[in-house]
């Protein structure tokens, strides 16, 4: 057993979430958070590495740098942390380092400190040297049990900490904030604890809500608050990505009144397996994966501006494909080649002009940036009787010296206006 004690001066919850990233066996012991890491020690590459990771994770989560103490029992680790002594060397015998500690290191001993002091005891070793039977008679069983548990002579029992089922965190702002962008910094604090919660529960985030309450000193017609719903394209728990995404949303936000406090709720989560670490340096050399880039582009430019296409079985040019917002696609199909007919009927241009451009004519022949030369045709399309968008068109390939190869049709349907229309280009 190898225990780490983290003394938390402030709210212990963030420390519990931090500790749960490293081990499932985390408990609260009096004012501290203790975690048992022996099984995880090898995974993290030894005690020193684990110490460094703990420290950097705490700093990342916005917590003060921890002063963790190690010992083979949780009470001993706490006693070392309280006394402010240097950490106990991993693997060394516990007895000598505990013996020298003052009475205040263990709560059960501290409770009887005046009496013990009158007996001439100043350190734990001197208390232990007293006869056990008379100790138990005079001070009750709690003192002896605490000593035995600290020295590892009696088993310890802990109630393990678990995480709340749903994440909701609140932050009261130190001052009123008028600008949406100024919320960024405060929201980041909440996001960090959200990321810690996600990491400890092995969850990825799909959707979160940032809600705010307007200050009491507000105009009468302004509501009590507002909220911002942020959806991610794929489940993630990476703080950097989430905060960039939130920034994009905050940049587009205008606050109706100054804000006094913030609430962050994880509205939709799903389990997320962490990606396997690679022995070789990653090929992407730290650049952003495409999916994340496109997600940010969708936020800034608008979801309709980032599109992927789907092919459809149809003979009408404008009905052969459908462009959809990238964010609306199921993640597995986003960057896949569109399935569909491999050999569509007839030649297909590479650019489509939508709606088709009506061309001027000269002696019944079309003109587009000068005279055109007819190369191929006609290809007759008659289709669409079933959905009311009937087409009867003759397609021709024209060549223009300035504009290249053009796909131009002549309207044949009497009900439509006759004429020549440019609908595609063979680029």
């Amino acid at each position: 057993m190898l225990w780490i004690a983290l003394q938390s001066a402030s709210e212990p919850d963030p420390w519990v979430w931090l500790a749960l990233q490293f081990s499932p066996r985390v408990a609260r012991l009096e004012e501290a958070v203790v975690l048992e890491v022996e099984a995880s020690l090898r995974l993290f590459g030894g005690a020193r590495r684990l110490h460094e990771r703990l420290r950097s994770a705490a700093l990342e989560a916005g917590l003060p740098a921890p002063q963790p103490r190690w010992a083979s029992t949780s009470r001993a680790a706490l006693a070392l942390a309280r006394s402010g002594r240097a950490g106990h060397a991993v693997g060394a015998r516990l007895g000598p380092s505990l013996d020298a500690l003052p009475l205040s290191a263990l709560t059960a001993v501290q409770a009887h400190a005046p009496m013990l002091a009158r007996l001439g005891c100043r350190s734990l070793a001197e208390v232990r040297a007293l006869p056990r039977s008379s100790l138990a008679r005079r001070f009750g069983p709690a003192l002896l049990q605490a000593l035995d548990q600290a020295y590892g002579d009696a088993p310890e029992a802990h109630e393990w900490c678990t995480l709340p089922e749903h994440f909701q965190a609140q932050l009261e702002l130190p001052f009123r904030v008028d600008q949406a962008l100024a919320l960024q910094h405060h929201a980041a604090t909440l996001l960090r604890s959200l990321c810690a919660w996600l990491a400890a529960r092995h969850f990825g985030l799909r959707r979160f809500t940032l809600a705010w309450t307007h200050d009491a000193m507000r105009a009468r017609d302004v509501g009590s608050g507002g909220q911002l719903e942020v959806a991610t394209a794929g489940s993630t728990r990476e703080f950097r990505h989430l905060s960039r995404l939130l920034d994009e949303h905050l940049q587009r936000l205008e606050l109706a009144a100054p804000v006094s406090d913030l609430r962050l709720t994880a509205s939709e989560v799903e389990s997320l397996a962490p990606s396997a670490a690679s022995l070789l340096p990653s090929l992407s050399d730290g650049r952003e994966p495409l999916a994340l880039t496109l997600e940010r582009l969708s936020v800034r430019l608008g979801p309709e501006q980032v599109r992927v296409g789907r092919l459809r079985e149809d003979h009408r040019l404008e009905a052969m494909q459908q462009w959809l917002a990238w964010t609306l696609q199921p993640p597995s199909q986003r960057l896949r080649a569109a399935p569909g007919p491999v050999h569509p009927s007839g030649p297909q241009p590479t650019w489509l002009i939508d709606p088709p451009l009506r061309l001027a004519t000269q002696r019944d022949q079309p003109l587009y940036r000068g005279p055109l030369q007819k190369l191929l045709g006609p290809q007759r399309i008659e289709s669409g009787w079933w959905d009311g968008r009937v087409q009867q068109r003759d397609y021709y390939l024209f060549h223009s010296e300035s504009a290249g190869l053009l796909w131009i049709y002549a309207e044949r349907l009497p009900a439509h206006e006759p004429g020549w229309f440019l609908q595609g280009m063979f680029a």
């Binding site: 992407s284 980032v306 896949r336 650019w351 489509l352 002009i353």
Partner: protein, 250 residues
Amino acid sequence: LYSIFEIMPAPHPAPALPSALPPAVWRGDSLDTGIRAGQPSGFAALDALLPGGGWPLGGLTEILQAQPGALEWRLLGPSLRQAGDAPLLLVHPPAMPHLPGLRGEGLGPLVWIDAATPQQQLWATEQALQSSGAAAVLAWLPQARPEQLRRLQVHALGAGMPAFIFRPLAARAQSSAAPLRLLLRAASAWQLEVQLFKRRGPAHAGWLQLAAVPAALDPLLTPRLREIAPRPERQPRQPAHAVDRAAVGL
């Protein structure tokens, strides 16, 4: 003076350089070999002229043409076909891409990123260049300014994929940070003409003709159709200098 002329040795042919020069010595008549290999363009004649033997992977390629949307896929299709499943990113294309036609050209999935203002187009291009996992970035930026292109070029340096910027012919007069700039026009219905007016290495003055028939039309063409040469009046006149050439392209 007279005596000096007497003393000067008669001009004689330069001594042949030893063939086994260290690779660091650059010969004036050869292309810069210190550049990393590019992505083959699919045209052997063009690959021979491109530094790195193909489209550069760490830098912008600027393509100037009179009419956007006229010739892009025929020039780039053979190269982009090799991308496989990685998507192409199209920023602000001049018209709607027609997927059945592009599939006929052998091109894979693509993402169409439209942006209304020039600032947004530049921003989207910059973000696209910084991401990983795309096959290539194709951006139509008719209004980009030199300093904005320089910024894009910095991002393209580490991109590891080809990045093509399409601009109008008028951009030729502007300076540009793109290491490869070329003029593109149609020589006939089935032929492209390319001039690399800026590249690493010696300048390329002439026009390189490339046969490029759209894949969709190839099986339909008769021998008579293949022979059409719609610019007979321009053939005899040889443009004398760069300005004149640009004028012909227009």
